[in-house]
Amino acid sequence: MKTNLIQSYIQGTPLIQQYNSRKAEDNFDVHKELATRTFIKPLPSNGHLVQNTIFDVPSEIYNDIKYNFKALKHSINGEANDHELGYLNDMGMKFGGLAIASYLFARKSTPLTKVMEFVGLGSFFAAMDIWPKLALQLPAYLIHGVDVRQKYVDNYGRKKLFYQDHQFIPWNLYSDEEINKIGDKMGVPKDMKNRRDFIQEKMRKIALQNNTLWMLTSGFATPIMSALICNALEKPITNYQREKQIKKADELLKNFPQEIKKYSFDKNAEKLNLLLDNNVSKNLTPETVNDIVKTMTEGLDAVTACAVEKDIKNILPSMEVFNVNSEAAVKIQNLFIKNFAPLNLSSEISARIIPDINAIENTFNEQGLLTDGVKDFSEHIKAVQSLLERNIQKFTEENPNNPLNNKLTLFRKKLIHSVIHGDDSALKITLKSKHSAVLSEDIKLKLKDTLKIINDLKSKNIVLDQYAYIKYAQAPETVLADDWNSISRNLLKPLGITEKEIKDTRYDRKLVAKLLRDKFDAIVSSDSKYFEVINSIQKELSKLPQIRIFEGEGEQEIGDGAFKEKVVSTFKEASESLKKYGMNSTAEALAGFDEQGTTSLKHIYLKFVDDRILGVKSSFYRILNTLDVYRRIAKVENVDFVLNSTMPREVKEELVELCKNLLISAHASDYATKFYSRRNVELNPQNKAPDFYSQIETHEGKVVNRYLGTHKPEELAELSNDRKFFEAAMKLMYDGELHPDTMNGIKDSVFKQDFLNYRKEVLKYLGGDKYFAKPNHLVNGEVHPSSSLLRMLLLGSAPDEMISKLCRQRYNSTKWLKIFGTLGASLLGVTVLAQFFTGRMPKSSKEGR
């Protein structure tokens, strides 16, 4: 092997010595040196390969960040070198990425979507970094023993990729021993000529091929990998966020006194103080009263604000008492002038018609009408009117043919009559210009104290609102919404719905209804399967933190006891305090009449949470109840109380068919219209078959119909007179004992009693709802008035709708995952496989030529 200069240098031959400027000083002749060129020799390298372990990662990250900042500083000063400028692109990209994530973070409204913006950004950069390491560096190292992403530090301390530039690879940084070791791993014969050259070339080739593969694959890999990372992280982040949200909400109630201090209404209080201080001991005007009301009702809901206004007006002295003094005479004369202005009276006529100020004042004085505390102005009006009338009469008598005469009488009447019935006349309004009411010091203090109570309540309500929103709002990512999602998703598995069934039924709710009916039939026909499913549902429902028993109002209740307690105490405290200041209407609006009403603000707070919980739990209870009814029918057990010996077999079959469908698909409107069902019109045929009153028969969960379906469609009709049919259907679905297997499944659950109550409530309110077209279709003939909201919440979501939505969600996410998961996995497979084709050397070089 011919040794070249560099190789000699690497081997450390004595010929190569480091240039020493001091030694060269003696007899140094640059021209001679340049002419002979003997002096020009490579300097020894101070570079080295970077050999990091996992423990060096933190210090590496630290050093990289430090270098980045150094590069940035040098760039700002215009002193950066190429290597430093190379780092700017990475920094800029991350800076821009952060700007995008921050902007999208600001636009998103829910915690998860906000966090996912940064997770998306992080996962993208992580994917950019991980892909070449995972798909190229690791397989290449395992297969060939070559680190294709080896880094080195050059003489200037700059970190670079070893195989970055294939026209300049600093091979001297690898010792013979290291190269030979790699060669051994590659299977390069040990006795090969120019072995090091051969290994180096092979390493170079592998690295180049991997770099090219990196460029070709990372475009596909990075977005897919990033999306898959996000997908995988979504669930843990949701769980984490959920726990965080629960903790946050619980902390709100736990630290209630501290939390309410965060919401100060000091500005509002200051505003009222200023207003009261400026008007204390002064006559009140309607404007002042309005300002007081406006300030004190700031931020309140309309109902409470109305009540507060009413109470304030009661606290303030009456605004219907007025003072009449000499100012009134001036105002009355001005009113007269304004009133007669359209007649364009000459000054001479005007002086004759319109009484002067003194005349008015004297008249009032003479009659003792210049007094304070006037409520009734009839005498004043009479006095002024007679003055005016007298003048007009005199003028008319003196000028009988004056065309103004009629007009004067008409305009006089305008003063004492209002255009709008019931309103005060213009004269009365003028007389009422000075209110007697004075804002006393006592009232001022009372109002200040009242506002303190109202503002305190507002602060408390904000905290209660936050708690209720985080836990129960009808919005994405609330605790209740998350629970709904996770529990309903988990129901697909026990129901045994397969991916293929999801795919086939996802477009149509009716297909899902049929699928569900088949699934339910199959489940209830098998004892073990039924037990398993009931158990799963029981476990899932028990996870609902909202289904929590607490001691409330003398009995055990299910719901959020802590919240209820806080709401009750908050409103009780506020209403009692307000009552002390005579704010009785406000107290009633807040806590209800005698704290019992159902239209108070307190009730709205409680009802909001109760309704949200009711809607969710009813939907799950409905599935449980559906399974129970199916089970009872399949086993023909606990159904005799409806399907008894007096009911014809055909009606039984019609009833069972209807109920099975209703349980899966019905909405509140179906119950409200008392079910529409086309039945055989001949209920009581003359020739009854021997099995006319026999019990239904079932096989593998399904009813074996003997009569149902034997008639042509045109022979069927809706029997709206058969009021008992509705009652029977309701009772079959919601009355009677549960099937023993169902009872066994839920007997130890926290919600057993609540579930039994739920059945009773549905029977009572949905069965007791009066429908004008079928007034007698009632359970036990009793009417139980209820709101449509309550009936809707009690019924919950129809199982076919719930499952249909779930199926679509599952299908969408699975489909996406299938497409991109497969693409990602294929790409990884192909990239790893390609490794086996890298580093192939031509035969000639293998022979050492």
Binding site: L88, Q164, Q209, N211, G219
Partner: protein, 343 residues
């Protein structure tokens, strides 16, 4: 004046077939005009080769593959990645049920537009730095040149030994291609480029060694403009994404079509694009006007403001040249005719 080092080997011919050599567009490293035509030609050449010649060479493990080719191949993941990112948010949508499809597509379309705007805004916004810097300092930081690259023979029969690479004079601050900026000495205007830059930057006219005086300034501008261009272009790219996420684009996506053979629909689509662009820009600036959240109301303004500020600061920093030669008075200049002793 020290003459620049010239490439004395330009006349060397490699390979066997002289006719083929002559067919090459350049026979030596050649400075190109920085205009739209050249830039487009270079872009097309680089993108084409990034997808064809360079990967082929790389996968073969060619001894001639170099860092330029590796960097040029960076376009491949950039373009494929953009398309894949669009696909990630759109390609599965067609399998969804109609309502979900509509919801997913609304987001997917915005994502795709965001990817497109990211690239466009990033590319276009580079001019926000390049143009003012060129107009004020006279330094064209993007001046391209064609480099004739002589390669090693890979096979005994191989004759394709020359390749053309497109670089920029100032792409390296350590090894700037000063030699290309000098004009032919025979014309007597060897330093013309440097003279112009010197004049524009207030160094004076008729300088003996304008090149020596300008080079530090030139280098400083290269470094600083690189910083300004990088950060501002990524900020404008972010602004592009934010713009794409405005609600106004939903109008455009309802009528969007690329079917140019249906001129009526296509023109209408372009018109709605223009309107949506204007509306979304307003929307971005105004934010959610009725929102209680200040962040929602001002985030758009903040992003636009930050992008503008970074661009402006970057340009100001670039124009603030610190490497100008100090003006020394005549008495401080050493007289060459007098003897001096250096200790």
């Amino acid at each position: 004046m020290i003459s620049p080092i010239k490439n004395n080997f330009n006349s060397i011919r490699f390979g066997q077939n002289d006719d083929r050599e002559k067919a090459l567009p350049y026979d030596k490293d050649t400075l190109l005009k920085n205009n739209l035509s050249t830039r487009s030609r270079i872009t097309i050449d680089k993108v084409t080769k990034a997808f064809t010649v360079y990967p082929a060479k790389g996968l073969k493990g060619s001894i001639n593959s170099n860092f330029y080719e590796f960097l040029t191949m960076g376009t491949v993941p950039y373009l494929i990645g953009s398309a894949t990112l669009m696909a990630v948010f759109n390609s599965a949508n067609k399998y969804f049920a109609p309502f979900e499809r509509a919801k997913a597509s609304a987001l997917g379309n915005k994502m795709a537009l965001g990817v497109l705007f990211y690239g466009l805004f990033k590319s276009i916004s580079k001019s926000f730095t390049n143009i003012p810097v060129r107009l004020i300092t006279g330094v064209d930081t993007q001046l391209p040149y064609a480099k004739v690259n002589y390669q090693l023979q890979e096979t005994p029969e191989g004759s394709d030994l020359t390749s053309i690479e497109y670089h920029k004079v100032g792409e390296s601050v350590d090894f700037t291609r000063w030699d290309l900026l000098y004009k032919d000495p025979k014309t007597g205007k060897q330093n013309e480029v440097f003279d112009k830059i010197a004049k524009k930057n207030g160094l004076g006219e008729n300088l003996n060694d304008s090149d020596q005086e300008v080079k530090p300034i030139y280098k400083e501008i290269l470094v600083k403009s690189n910083l300004a261009r990088t950060f501002s272009s990524y900020m404008w790219a972010a602004t592009g994404v934010a713009l794409a996420f405005q609600k106004s684009w939903e109008n455009f996506f309802r009528v969007a079509t690329l079917k140019f053979w249906k001129p009526k629909d296509f023109v209408h689509s372009l018109k709605v694009f223009k309107d949506s662009f204007v509306e979304s820009a307003k929307e971005l600036y105004n934010g959610r006007e009725h929102s209680f959240s200040k962040i929602e109301r001002y985030s758009g303004k903040a992003l636009l403001g930050l992008a503008s500020l970074i661009t402006l600061l970057g340009i100001i920093n670039t124009l603030h040249i610190t490497k100008k030669p100090s003006k020394i008075s005549a008495k401080d200049v050493m007289d060459k005719n007098k003897e001096s002793v250096v200790n």
